[in-house]
Symmetry: C2
Subunit: 359 residues, 2 copies
DNA sequence: TTGTATGCGTTATCAC
DNA sequence: GTGATAACGCATACAA
């Protein structure tokens, strides 16, 4: 039993009330063609009085555009994504686009069969809703082995509308990618810690099987092997959340002896700092913690987190602009985020071992 | 110069390819009416092969529903809203609805003239897009004096589609409201601090002129006056962000002598704690800080924040369910969030002044 | 300058 | 069982 609220006013009613034809009304609506000021004013008056607004859906049916973009991401509660959404929303709004938000982790569906895969489902929704373009942030595409069914659906969608993916490039995917300088970021933080004199450095957090994690870890290992006696046990992968830093740091220190740790992001870093605090260890005095990915607010933690500004938000702007360019038939730019910056704060301390290396 | 991607496949093409009429195709699409298994299989085969999906926009034009809800909020980056969005998205998805997200603070428009007011504009967008319902979280409606133009637009929108507002009830607004137990929450934290023995209690944060702020402040003052020698100078209102706690705490302590402060939320509390730390004061030893609104992650801060769980996320579920009820012509429930809980952590310390009150 | 007719992709009504 | 056909609200090509 559906209750119908007040009847929607249409262009036809405006036409009747103003004594003009629908085409003339349409003309003043779109400021196209010539309309006598007399009629125009009459029509505008009726529009104002009736509070009429043309239906975008009827309009879309004709124009083939919805002035809507879709954003797909795995987890809105992740701070990494928040800034991105904000930026995407802001830029889209500026271009006159509305946003559809799809949070794939929130769907209760089981990933057992492909049809119920939330990410595939999201792509279907996008297709049905006929959005003009889509921005996909992470998720399945971030895995080392991307599900083939997903990849297929993605490529098919990309044939219909431009799809921009914020992630490291995947070879057999035709979408536009917007990448970050992952290696550079990791290098900045590791070399900072090395330069401070630390030689027993661990790596904490990040989901195994996810490309950003593996890429960061590879860069980390490369550097650490170059300057120290690297040990497998100094690495612990789990996930990206606070609890992973909290639980992980203890395990990691049980595995091996460390005086420095690079966390995958500020959240994991905070979790680790908190656990160390409870264990009676002071950061940075007893052990230093750096992070490879800055999240908001970490400058207010105690201690504040020394980290890498990956300029994540700039990705949002770039992504939307790629989409707009694509709408206009302009060639894609090779898109990469701004160069990362080292943000020195408290959690790694200051120079201390200028003459003697801390083993 | 618009580039058209691969031609969208329509029901007509499916009809041709399968040798059935569009009506029959529509029947198998909607599982309505009788279709011979023979034709059905032929049609399903073509659909599968062509990867066809019916256009929601054409469908909407006819059915008068878009299976879409709109969410309007002032600032996605505010943690208070994040959980809400997540919850709203989750519940909506379960009911088969897609979400449109409008972040009014992100629009660059000036608030000078009503037409360009981002919030009014958002309501217009909602109307144009013909969403089935809308959830509005805070913003203009939270002000003590709601802009009359905005209110008018809101009431008009509410005549067309059900609108649920997550905020304290406003008298001359016809929308459905979902409220929080603001007073109870404030009472819980203030009485906790009073019970611990503190008698010089301040209030920090929150934007003046915003109803939640004023309401919380009123409750705070009522209680504090009842048990202590209240002083006007022990209150400082500014805003809801980290920097407000950071800058505000110093001003507040310059105004008057305090040994306890209630912050409007965990973010402001963290900002204050951080500044105090820099000033060489320890929380909770030298001064205790409580918060009236729990945000994620504050259990990991050092010290962790003693706060109030307002069960904000439950508001999201309630809001969407009100909308769904409304679609089904069911009467509105008087909606209120779950009862708030006191969350005792570290920032207010433990009982200490059992015999002697700390003045 | 303005109005009429047609189409957009889909569903539903109505004959066959 | 199935297939034409009208209708949804709007924009445009074409007439007038």
């Amino acid at each position: 039993m559906l209750i119908t609220k007040k009847h929607d006013i249409t262009i036809k009613e405006i036409s009747k009330l103003s004594g003009a034809s629908t085409s003339t009304v349409s003309r003043v609506l779109n400021e196209s063609g010539y309309v006598s000021t007399e009629k125009r004013q009459a029509i505008e008056k009726v529009i104002r009085e009736t509070n009429y607004r043309p239906s975008m859906i009827a309009r879309s049916l004709h124009s083939k555009q919805t002035k809507t973009l879709a954003v797909v991401l795995p987890d809105v509660s992740n701070p990494y994504f928040i800034g991105l959404i904000e930026e995407i929303e802001h830029v889209s709004e500026g271009y006159g686009y509305t946003l559809i938000l799809i949070n794939t982790m929130s769907t209760g569906a089981d990933k057992m069969n492909a049809v119920d895969d939330p990410e595939v489902k999201a792509l279907h929704t996008i297709q049905e809703k006929h959005v003009d373009g889509a921005v996909i942030i992470g998720g399945e595409i971030d895995h080392v082995n991307v599900d083939s069914q997903y990849l297929k659906t993605l490529n098919e969608l990309n044939k219909q509308i431009p799809v921009v993916i914020i992630a490291q490039k995947v070879e057999n995917c035709d979408c536009i990618f917007v990448q970050r300088h992952i290696n550079t970021g990791m290098r900045l933080i590791v070399q900072h810690i090395l330069s401070l004199g630390y030689r027993k450095i661990g790596f904490l957090g990040g989901k195994p099987g996810v490309r950003v994690t593996e890429q960061r870890l590879a860069e980390f290992e490369k550097l650490v092997k170059m300057y120290t006696d690297y040990d497998d046990k100094s690495v612990l992968l789990n996930d990206y959340y606070l609890k992973d830093g909290y639980q992980g740091i203890e395990k990691l220190l049980n595995q091996t002896d460390l005086n420095a740790v690079v966390a995958i992001n500020d959240r994991v870093a905070l979790g680790a700092v908190r656990r160390l605090h409870e264990m009676g260890m002071n950061v940075p005095k007893d052990i230093v913690i750096g992070s490879a990915d800055q999240f908001p607010d970490s400058d207010y933690y105690i201690p504040s987190i020394t980290t890498i500004n990956q300029h994540n938000n700039s990705l949002g702007k770039i992504a939307v602009e790629q989409l707009i360019r694509s709408f206009n038939g302009q060639p894609f730019l090779t898109a990469e985020s701004e160069f990362p910056d080292l943000v020195i704060r408290e959690s790694c301390g200051e120079k201390k071992y200028s003459n003697v290396l801390k083993k």
